[in-house]
Symmetry: C2
Subunit: 452 residues, 2 copies
């Protein structure tokens, strides 16, 4: 058993397989991939540049294609699907979980989508269409329809006999759902409860009726937060009439929890939806250029502000030299507040009742930061440039900008959220614009007033 | 049942409770908190400023203190523990899961720690000391010792009888562990397998021997990655001799997965470990000041570089005005690459075998970006300032800096990782220093060479 530790995939394996691939040892690679669980093959594909990724993919036994596609992140899966024939895609999706099947279909180009849908057998097509009926990113679109339901008036013994005859239950089943004659959800019974109860107990007495079902239209992010908060393994999904539609399991939610948490980080760098580390160059350049374009505009805006002060800049080169310090410090302080607020918004920690406390807190931190760094920069500039008026000017600008940073760090994401704009995506660039402009105005403005 | 949707905690509830607290309606608040699940009370506490947080805490029935502490994030928990008497802490920890108990003890100041440990009853003290024996952030420190073990030579019927006599199994039990006479782990049986098998089946035939146990010394982050990759609900923890020590459940791993993903974002803004949105002002200011201090140094470094070019700056104010554009664009482009690489490192996607491909990819993107934005900025500056030499100079500087950004975005985090420094924490500031200096040198250097 202890050698099982080594079974967990290391970067060693990745390195070795890539080397074998490059040396043309295809049979060796094929065998190695064949003996690996699907999740490990998915990991290898995600860690490989586009060229070796496709080579690995072609060496994988096509009967495992479906399982592996289920494990891949969206971007990487799409990069592979784009290279496959419709028949191959249809074949790969056979027996796939409903939610993954719908996901694959959604990511196909229109033409391929129809071709694949037509090549599916009737049952799979039916399941896919049912799942596609729910909007993307809702609970309905990530649910599975493979629930085990029972009636409230039977005994534990009857249920156990039924399950033994069935022979197996769907993966990650921790509860059976109790429904009435109209298929309305009235409770659930955990496998643990079932297994520890006396055979003659009636389900009605055993079932938990306190359960909180997830409406199919709930955004998947909210559903994931409920899983996280309540420590659920699975939860039932219902429609507005409380009819049981399916269930969501924690393994799908874990992916959403990670993606949500990563989303903020990626968005703040202007990398929205770039999940594939090895995406093609042109695609990445395109995606990133939006952000760089916006940044160019704000940089030009800051340059325009400096342009107002051309006179004082042309007389005192020292101002040009020191002009970047205050905006830079304001940007960092503001981004700290912004990041904190974006995280708190994502976790639902901010509401009307605490916005004022938060603003006061961050404003006070801004004021404290301002005082600390104003004194420090005044000392440094005073000693470096032997000019004490200049030292006071930069200290004043620092204080002003730190206060502006604290206020903007709280208010910008909240305002963006009100207008339904993702604060993680737009917050950082707007904030930096504010701290740049306030910083330059405060520094060059005061300087041209006092020194000219 | 449909009204159950409303049971899920909304910011409405938070708003209402805070209003009631401020109006002094303590009995109402106490009752509302009493009827809420522990996870919702934890959410209220995390979403409240320090003052109302302590007021809410005092209104919570002390018998629920333990459950709620288990649900809180570390920072918020510590802020509450610091205000509690040792006896109250000891009482709250009664019946707590082993991993949470150890976590609470670890976060106490030395003196309080001894006091609390002494006030625990013998059994709890024993469990706590066992958990404390494992280093923080290892699998051993997050495991629970409440496993249900069975022998391989018994039948399903015997196991079912045993479980019925037991009456219940620990929360989130999806598998029973099969151990031999020496308590060595030899396999597991899922509840689903148990429930769907014939009573006369022997466990040995039913059990899964392919399981991958987690060594107690494995870092918790790695364990969480294994859970995520293999879609586990729970996993056994063993020592080096393969003795079963306990088990880890997905609910604890979900917290770690979120924390890990958030950690990168928070670190990149210099907010390492500031989990509490409403942390006290002085504490936050202190924590954030390290980052601001480092940034001041790099801003001064950039100013020193500009200082080399005092001559050309004093003759041409237009250089001072445009001087911030190239460093700013380089910083954004570099941070995009950096963020991508930091995420890929966290997911384990980068190894020796693909570093070269990644570097070539990001270098090519840098080159493409450089060309695009060089042409654009040349056009803008040419039209704005009617100076075509200047336009060429800034275009050249832009190209150089974008290439530098691509290279640094890949190499800086990889080098930091080699030296075991967290790339998310130090990467951004080092990268910005590089793009600032390259940007200023390329722009002012070329300008002073061509224009003087």
């Amino acid at each position: 058993m202890p050698e099982a530790y080594e079974q967990s995939l290391s970067s060693q394996t990745l390195h070795e397989l890539t080397a074998s691939l490059n040396r043309g040892m295809f049979v060796h690679v094929r065998n190695a991939l064949h003996n690996m669980p699907a999740c490990d093959v998915a990991f290898i594909l995600e860690s490989s540049p586009v060229k070796s990724r496709m080579a690995f993919w072609q060496l994988v036994d096509s009967e495992f294609h479906g399982e592996i596609l289920e494990e891949l992140s969206d971007d990487v899966r799409n990069s592979i699907l784009r290279q496959m024939m419709p028949e191959a895609v249809a074949e790969a999706t056979e027996g796939m979980d409903t939610d993954d099947l719908a996901d694959v279909l959604r990511s196909l180009p229109e033409q391929l989508y129809q071709d694949v849908l037509n090549s599916l057998d009737a049952q799979d097509r039916h399941r896919a269409e049912a799942a596609l009926a729910y909007e993307e990113d809702t609970a309905g679109s990530v649910m599975n329809t493979d629930t085990v339901t029972i009636r409230p008036d039977v005994t534990v013994e009857v249920v156990l006999r039924y399950l033994r005859r069935r022979g197996e239950v769907p993966e990650n089943t921790d509860s059976l759902y109790v429904v009435d004659k109209d298929d309305c959800l009235i409770g659930d019974v955990s496998l643990a409860g079932l297994i520890t109860s006396q055979p003659e107990t009636v389900i009605e007495q055993l079932m938990n009726t306190d359960l909180v079902p997830i409406p199919a239209t709930m955004p998947e992010t909210e559903a994931a937060q409920m899983f996280e908060r309540h420590n659920w393994i699975s939860a039932p999904v219902v429609n507005e009439q409380n009819h049981l539609l399916g269930r969501i399991t924690i393994d799908d939610m874990v992916d959403i929890i990670r993606e949500d948490a990563e989303h903020s980080m990626m968005s703040m760098a202007g990398l929205d939806d770039e999940e594939d580390t090895f995406a093609p160059v042109v695609e990445s350049t395109q995606k990133r250029s939006i952000w760089l374009g916006v940044n160019l505009l704000t940089a030009l805006l800051a340059a325009t502000v400096s342009n107002f002060f051309e006179d004082v800049l042309s007389q005192l080169a020292v101002l040009a030299i020191l002009n970047t310090i205050v905006p830079s410090m304001g940007g960092v302080a503001g981004n700290q507040t912004l990041t904190l607020v974006i995280r708190a918004l994502a976790l639902g920690h901010i509401s009307e009742s605490n916005t004022r406390s938060l603003l006061i807190k961050e404003l006070t931190i801004g004021l404290l930061n301002g005082l600390i760094w104003a004194v420090l920069i005044a000392g440094i500039v005073g000693i470096w440039k032997q000019d004490f008026t200049l030292a006071w000017i930069i200290a004043f600008a620092m204080l002003m900008n730190m206060i502006a940073a604290g206020i903007s760090g709280v208010t910008i994401p909240l305002i963006l959220k009100k207008f339904k704009i993702d604060p993680a995506l737009a917050g950082s660039v707007i904030l930096t614009t504010v701290t740049d402009i306030v910083g330059i105005f405060a520094f060059l403005g005061t300087a041209s007033w006092l020194l000219m």
